[in-house]
Amino acid sequence: MTGAAAPPPPAAPVVPAAPTPPRPAAQGDVAIAGDRGRTIRRAIAYVLLVSYALLMLVPFAWQVITSFKTDRDALRLTVIPDPFTLQGWEKGFLTLDPSIPQLFFNSVIVAAGVTISNLVLASMAGYAFARLRFPGREILFLAILGTLMIPDQLRFVPVYLIERQLGLITREPQNYLGVVLVLAIEAQQLFLMRQYFLSIPRDLEEAAKIDGAGFFTTFLRVMLPLAGPALAAVSILAFQGAWNGFFWPLLILQDQGHWTLPLGLFQFTQEFLSFWPALMSVTIAAILPILVIYLFFQRYFVASVAASGVKG
């Protein structure tokens, strides 16, 4: 949760359009004037696009450059670190407490826990809601749908108290479980799985049934192997959300040995705002894994925009 988990938008699959060749020019005088107008418009468009892209990318480039500077050099506006140094990274890996590896490890534990539990629970419940008939199915499904309207910011006070009573707000390792539990089954992942199972033709299940397979076996052996793309989307969405999450870790993770990367960054900014290169190295550690996943699985991210709304 990044501060603004918004309700999902309507069904508009966002597919990156391939660049199409320019349309053949129309004929006549009007077309010539139109072409010149179009060329100028295109030039302006490119200038605007490139500047905005720079605006998007320069801060990140600056972050990488700064991480290789000394603390004093970090305040100078030079593009090439002088001297080039690994001090910032060294500090991030060795001096900061918790260090980058420790924060990274905690982020992996939390994000992996959330991803695995969403995969297991969303696929099981998604299958049940899509295919199995049991009394109360529709009303239960609607109730789960309704949870999308309950913002985390409302439920955090009682959830915090409940988890305290469960002994999860603690300095012991079950503290991680406290974060995983809150995000263990996200309604949007359940919907995603349900919709996908609904789209699979029934013939295959019928065949399994004739072979004498039970409902659970059919789910495990027939339906789950067919749900690869949906499982991939759920993994990526859940992982990114948990990896970037700030609110719940801030609330629940008590011991600094349990802090995730975003939480570590928050605490560091409250203490040592002058160690910019070290701080930048931590931000890079926080962003890099998601960036790598993005580069490999771009299409799922684009679909996720349609599914998960806006960050705030």
Binding site: T147, Q153, L181, F246, F247, K311
Partner: protein, 311 residues
Amino acid sequence: MTAGTASRGVRGERRAEMLTGYALVAIPLLLYATLFFGAMLYAAYISLWRWGLRGPRNFLGFGNYEDILSDPIFWKAVTNTIYYVAIWVPLTMALGLFLAVIVNQKLRGQTFFRAAFYFPTLASSAAITVVWLFLLQPDGLFNGIRGAIGLNPVFEALGFPPNHNWLGSSRTAMNSIIILNAWTTSGTVMLFYLTFLQTIGKEVYEAAAIDGAGAWQTFRRITFPLLRPAHFFVGTLLLIGGLKLFDQAIIAGGRGGEPNNSLTTIVLFIYRAAITDNEFGFAAAVGLVLFVLIFTLTLIQRRLFGQEPSW
């Protein structure tokens, strides 16, 4: 096989289906029942009490709600949040629409631009806010660049010295967060607008071209009005998201929403009431007030854009 065993077989199968169904949804239902619905009731209950982790608990009735109304910091938080939403939502919509219209022209490198604009959305709010803190600090890149390109006289005329501390001054802290979030969210808004733009038929534009309408005319008279559903959709989405502003505010302004509560939002106010001040009952009451606000807006949104998400 007789008819009797066959019907028992069918009944047995129905039973198995039902039991499997309940078994598969059991854990999610348990979690939703406790951490959502149970939590809501729990919040409503303790909102009627003075309720802390330590110290005495006594029944206050609607005392907490009355305290909310007379708390000046609460009103400060409400004002800040409304100010944020009032500027951030239209700004982000305008930026996103602008980008979408440009990217929607068949340009080379479209894929690159989309990816670049979407890039800040990938990063965690914490990482991106820390980068923003670094860029906007007195000796930071932003002040450096405006000096280097000779904009300092302009800024000085507006009352900002060359080393202005953007996030450290109560005059500019919230505006800096607004720009930060407009910057990170504009890419997502662009993608929303693009999907809507692609549903507008070519014929409409061809007709406009035949009538000799210029680019601006076409945008103002045709594209913008046709995007009405998109404006409503993106607008409510951002509005609801904006009311929940928290991460950037607490990272830039600390738990106190510094400087001088200028970054104290409603959610930060709730967080502080519970975690810092041990006033869980009061915090739950503020949470319910926020919920009623968001719930109303969500209902309006659902009413306008269909009931169920389907994708």
